[in-house]
């Protein structure tokens, strides 16, 4: 199971501290969501060996202008094994869910009524995973948490009704904000998710990574066409 984290400079813990804590919490891997391609951590293998956990680096696009966003998605697709795009209002979410090159639509519940069945169907069609973001539930309070709880319940109803692929994350920006998979499974019950649903969502990060790492390695000549000798079934 994987967790997608915000390490320094976005967060307040370095990637190695996140990896050490995630390893203690029982995660098999972590992904650093970077918002700047220049800040990618070059020592992923060292961290991975030191704390016995898989460590990857992904890219998160935060762009409001839809035409610029489209360009950024296409230009970054082949540079990273995980491409997340921050959602926002309903038109932005719908636009992102139509992009086949996007892996995850994250932070899609910023406003009311920005999760619709139309968007869910598009996301399912284009295999764009919706992020079930438990951060407000874990760290929010008062009115904001009540609203967030309502939106998450609505989001989960739509995801389960239309079989939309999804990922689960607690969006930690510090090692102190990390919660173990078992704890997330219990918190997931509050929005109607079973422990198996949470496990599926945490495992999905790993599935995305393995698929994209294969694609980036160049073993596929085209969609579904693997490079190799004629008659070589392997």
């Amino acid at each position: 199971m994987f967790e997608a984290v915000y390490a320094t400079p976005i967060g307040t813990s370095t990637l190695s501290r996140m990896a050490a804590t995630a390893s203690d919490h029982g995660f098999s891997g972590i992904i650093a969501r970077e918002q700047n391609m220049d800040s990618l951590n070059p020592d992923l293998q060292t961290i991975s060996n030191e704390f016995e956990i898989k460590v990857f680096s992904g890219f998160e696009i935060n762009e409001k202008n839809l035409s610029t966003l489209s360009g950024k998605i296409n230009s970054n697709r082949n540079k990273t094994p995980l491409l997340c795009v921050r959602g926002g209002d309903a038109p932005t979410n719908l636009f992102i869910s139509k992009q086949k090159n996007v892996d995850v639509l994250c932070h899609s519940l910023r406003n009311e009524n920005n999760m619709s069945h139309v968007m869910a169907k598009e996301a399912a069609k284009n295999n764009v995973r919706l992020e079930v973001n438990l951060s407000d539930l874990l760290r929010g309070s008062g009115k904001n948490r009540i609203k967030s709880l309502h939106r998450l319940k609505k989001q989960w109803n739509i995801i389960s009704a239309y079989n939309v692929p999804f990922v689960v994350s607690s969006n930690p920006t510090s090692h102190l904000e990390l919660r173990s998979p078992r704890e997330l499974m219990e918190v997931g019950r509050l929005i109607g998710m079973t422990p198996e649903d949470i496990e599926t969502g945490l495992l999905e990060w790993g599935i995305i990574l393995s698929k994209n790492i294969d694609n980036l390695s160049g073993i596929y000549a085209n969609m579904g066409v693997k490079r190799g000798k004629y008659g070589d079934s392997n």
């Binding site: 307040t12 190695s16 501290r17 050490a20 804590t21 203690d24 874990l138 090692h175 919660r179």
Partner: protein, 145 residues
């Protein structure tokens, strides 16, 4: 139920404040009636230099409420809190034997280089908490020289 608790080295948390945080988190999630059902009671508690543990009592039927309430404690006395449920057991003695064998070691304070700047660091095994102005950055021995 045994929980390990982590925060920044300057965090000041005692048994009373942690018990209060548990009750507040439970009643916010499940209401006063739910908090009474979960009946979370802090039996033992140790915390110093930003690390500690606690043994919490709860009825078996309310375990799922207890786990989600504890996971939702994010701050105490304005200090961010990391919580990990180490395990659940029927008796206090078994809890201590099974889950309290690896107690946190003491903290060492040193001046080390982080991002080419000399900063005051609090070191516990591989973990290094770096004080920059009034904030902390969580790091490990790989990040400092």
């Amino acid at each position: 139920m045994v929980v390990s608790i982590e925060s920044w080295p300057t965090a000041n948390i005692d048994k009373r404040t942690f018990q209060h945080a548990i009750w507040t988190s439970t009643s916010r999630l499940f209401g006063d009636n739910g908090a009474a059902t979960a009946d979370l009671f802090l039996i033992r508690f140790e915390f110093s230099d930003g690390s500690g543990w606690g043994i919490i009592r709860t009825p078996r039927d309310a375990l799922h409420m207890a786990k989600s309430s504890l996971a939702c404690i994010s701050q105490i006395n304005e200090f961010p809190i990391g919580i990990l449920i180490k395990g659940v057991s029927g008796t206090i003695k078994t809890c201590e034997e099974k889950y309290l064998s690896d107690l946190p070691t003491s903290i060492v304070s040193k001046e080390l280089f982080f991002n080419n700047k000399l900063s005051s660091c609090f070191i516990r095994e591989n973990s290094v908490d770096i004080k920059i102005d009034n904030d902390f950055i969580g790091a490990t021995h790989l990040d400092v020289t």
